[in-house]
């Protein structure tokens, strides 16, 4: 059993990582946090440490999971690698490409696995889109949109109300959508970004509209916190079919509600997706298809396989470096109002 040290017990550590780690058959052996009592109740077998250095000195871990504020990822990652541990870093992997590259280089030097926690590759609709893409169900793709539409008229506390480095929606939710685009479609050629503070009291970016240009189609990534009637989370349009799904993946809501992976109905989405087909001008019938189920535990199962059996890590470091580069370019594009080329 892999022994995991969880660095950070905020929303991500408590709600997302700890239950998923346990569900995948890994052991939550230690947690770095000041929330000693809370942890004693929820994870009685986990040792609690006041800081990462103390935990690393204590030893006895195979893998560190970093789910602390974004601007601390890099420093903690280097410490964990210095201690010879494998590493999972919550998204966004780092705050910029320079940080991300240094982490990747360090991991290669010490021969350890480092991977970004891009759990939303295992969203139900993304798994279904991958399956349809594998079946060539779309023919020639013309247009894709991935979106986070929410209604949060008041700034949420988690990332919206401060302007410390690494805050804002583009890094925090954009990192999911950019990764989904890279996962589904590979590297884009261009990026044109609009990233801005939209709500009256927003102090950091809380809305984005970003267009990734591929050779024959565009992928639009959008997030807006002021949408009473959210648009689809995914829409893929092609010459042979359209795939449209409303409603976010259910797993995060299930985790928040205390449901665990393996529970009956885990990751099942009650809102079906819709697939519309056509052959040339002849339009076929639209039909509902199941979306998912989603499978976040696959990330940690994959990480265990990477450590034990040298399987490829669940998210390739090359993908994470590309995602970080695209996040950097997005900021630059939005600042200058220019479409930018993505490096070869």
């Amino acid at each position: 059993m892999l022994r995991v040290l969880l660095a950070g017990y905020g929303y991500g550590g408590r709600i997302i990582h700890a239950p998923l780690i346990a569900a995948a058959g890994l052991t939550v052996a230690g947690i770095v946090s000041s929330r000693r009592d809370e942890i004693a109740a929820a994870w009685p077998d986990a040792a609690v440490f006041p800081d990462l250095a103390t935990a690393l000195n204590h030893g006895g871990f195979d893998l560190v999971v970093i789910c602390t504020p974004n601007d601390t990822h890099a420093e903690l990652a280097h410490r964990a690698l210095d201690a010879g541990l494998h590493l999972v870093i919550d998204k966004p992997f780092a705050v910029d490409s320079a940080e991300a590259q240094a982490i990747a280089d360090h991991a290669r030097r010490v021969g350890r696995i480092v991977t970004a926690f891009q759990n939303r590759r295992w969203d139900g609709h993304i798994l279904t889109a991958r399956k349809l893409l594998g079946e060539q169900a779309f023919g020639r793709i013309s247009d894709v949109t991935l979106a986070y539409d929410r209604l949060r008229l008041v700034n949420p506390a988690r990332w919206g109300d401060n302007n410390r480095r690494g805050s804002g929606i583009w890094l925090n939710l954009g990192s999911h959508l950019v990764d989904q685009a890279v996962h589904l479609f590979g590297k884009p050629q261009t990026i044109m970004a609009d990233i801005f503070a939209q709500r009256p009291h927003a102090v950091v970016d809380d809305s984005f509209h970003v267009i990734l240009g591929y050779e024959a189609f565009r992928v639009t990534l959008r997030a807006c916190m002021t949408t009473p009637a959210p648009s689809p989370v995914i829409a893929i349009h092609g010459s042979a079919g359209s795939f449209v799904k409303y409603g976010e993946d259910t797993q995060e809501a299930m985790l928040k509600a205390g449901r665990l992976p393996g529970d009956l109905g885990w990751g099942v989405d009650p809102v079906p997706a819709r697939f519309s087909s056509a052959d040339g001008e002849i339009v076929g019938e639209a039909r509902d298809i199941a979306s998912g189920p989603g499978d976040y535990p696959a990330f940690y199962t994959g990480m265990a396989a990477a450590i034990h059996h040298s399987a490829p890590p669940p998210v390739a470091i090359e993908d994470s470096l590309l995602v970080q580069h695209l996040l950097d370019l997005g900021f630059a594009s939005a600042r200058d109002g220019r479409r930018l080329e993505v490096r070869a």
Binding site: S142, P228, A229
Partner: protein
């Protein structure tokens, strides 16, 4: 009655303008200029068909409606103004801002009504939104969409390469006019305008953002969309309005229905979702293109308000040009 000559009997002339002019109170369609009189007579037996010059020389004709390919709009409008006619031009107004400025100036000097047929201000979607707009609070995101499934390129001037062709001129002008009418003059535009279908000869896709402070108005059109999105979507601080489906009037005209007949312009419901997540059906205000031509008749006869002054259309031309520049240079363009 205002005697009216229709210039051009292609799709727009035959299907849209001719029946609307004939149905409009105060207008009398007396003359059609077409190089294909047989087409006209098949549709309208006995209609007088003349050349453009003959129509302009006819002192009984007061109003000239120009529904020819876009590159002819400016020269024909100047000629009609020189002949002392009032002029309606199908959208888009013309090819360039400078052409448009010259036309606005000419109409002012000639003291004639010059108007552009931005009929989609009388779409059911647009009229319905205007009625419920106050309930939505401050708008944050608006998407105006022409999604269609037309995988094959058609052999018609709008889809051939040439001055004034392409979808940004053709459909973009409608959506720009709707946006300017509702939200005013934007600060900037960022546009992606491109040929999307493999055998497209001109642009047949656009995805454009108009910037207004915290509001973004997105204008989108694709001919390769099977599962079309909402035609009209407004997300505001107090609620969202979402309406699927294009205004039905063009299809009604194609089907030969008489504008203004029983049930004219009737459209499916839209939906208003409030910030508690409650959704209610919103009955659509029927579309009413006839209102445009009847207002034109009053503008000419009584000096009433021009329903779409050429100055409005000039602003649309400025946005069209800025959009092309933005797409070509890959940058946001200040307006």
């Amino acid at each position: 009655m205002i005697n009216t000559a229709l210039i051009g009997f292609g799709y727009a002339g035959k299907t849209i303008h001719s029946p609307l002019i004939r149905a409009a109170q105060g207008l009398d369609l007396t003359t059609i200029v077409s190089s294909r009189p047989d087409d006209v007579h098949a549709d309208l037996p006995g209609m007088r068909v003349t050349t453009f010059d003959e129509a302009l020389a006819d002192p009984n004709i007061q109003l000239v409606v120009i529904a020819t390919p876009n590159d002819l709009h400016a020269p024909q409008a100047h000629a009609a103004l020189n002949a002392g006619k009032h002029v309606v031009i199908d959208k888009p107004f013309c090819l360039t801002v400078s052409e448009g400025e010259a036309l606005v100036d000419h109409a002012r000097r000639a003291d004639r009504v010059l108007s552009v047929f931005h009929c989609r201000r009388w779409d059911s979607n647009f009229l319905t939104f205007s009625r419920i707009r106050d309930r939505l609070g401050d708008p944050y995101q608006v998407v105006l969409r022409y999604d269609r499934w037309r995988p094959e390129v058609r052999d018609r001037w709008r889809e051939r390469d040439g001055p004034g062709s392409g979808i940004w001129f053709d459909l973009g002008s409608h959506l720009i006019d709707q946006a300017l009418s509702q939200f005013g003059w934007p600060e900037a535009i960022s546009a992606d305008i491109a040929p999307q279908r493999p055998d497209a000869q001109t642009d047949d896709f656009f995805h454009t953002t108009l910037f207004y402070g915290p509001l973004r108005v997105i204008l989108h059109s694709s001919m390769l969309t099977l599962a079309v999105g909402p035609a009209f979507e407004v997300q505001g601080s107090n609620g969202a309005f979402v309406k699927y489906g294009m205004d039905p009037q063009e299809d009604m005209l194609k089907a030969g229905r008489t504008p203004g007949d029983d049930g004219w312009g009737g459209d499916r419901d839209g939906h208003l979702t409030d910030i508690s997540g409650n959704t209610e059906s919103i009955a659509s205000v029927p579309g009413n293109y006839l209102a445009y031509y009847e207002a034109i008749a009053r503008a000419i006869a009584d000096g009433a308000h021009n329903p779409v002054p050429a100055g409005d259309a000039l602003k649309v031309m400025q946005v069209i040009e800025a959009g092309f520049r933005s797409a070509r240079e890959g940058r946001r363009v200040a307006l």
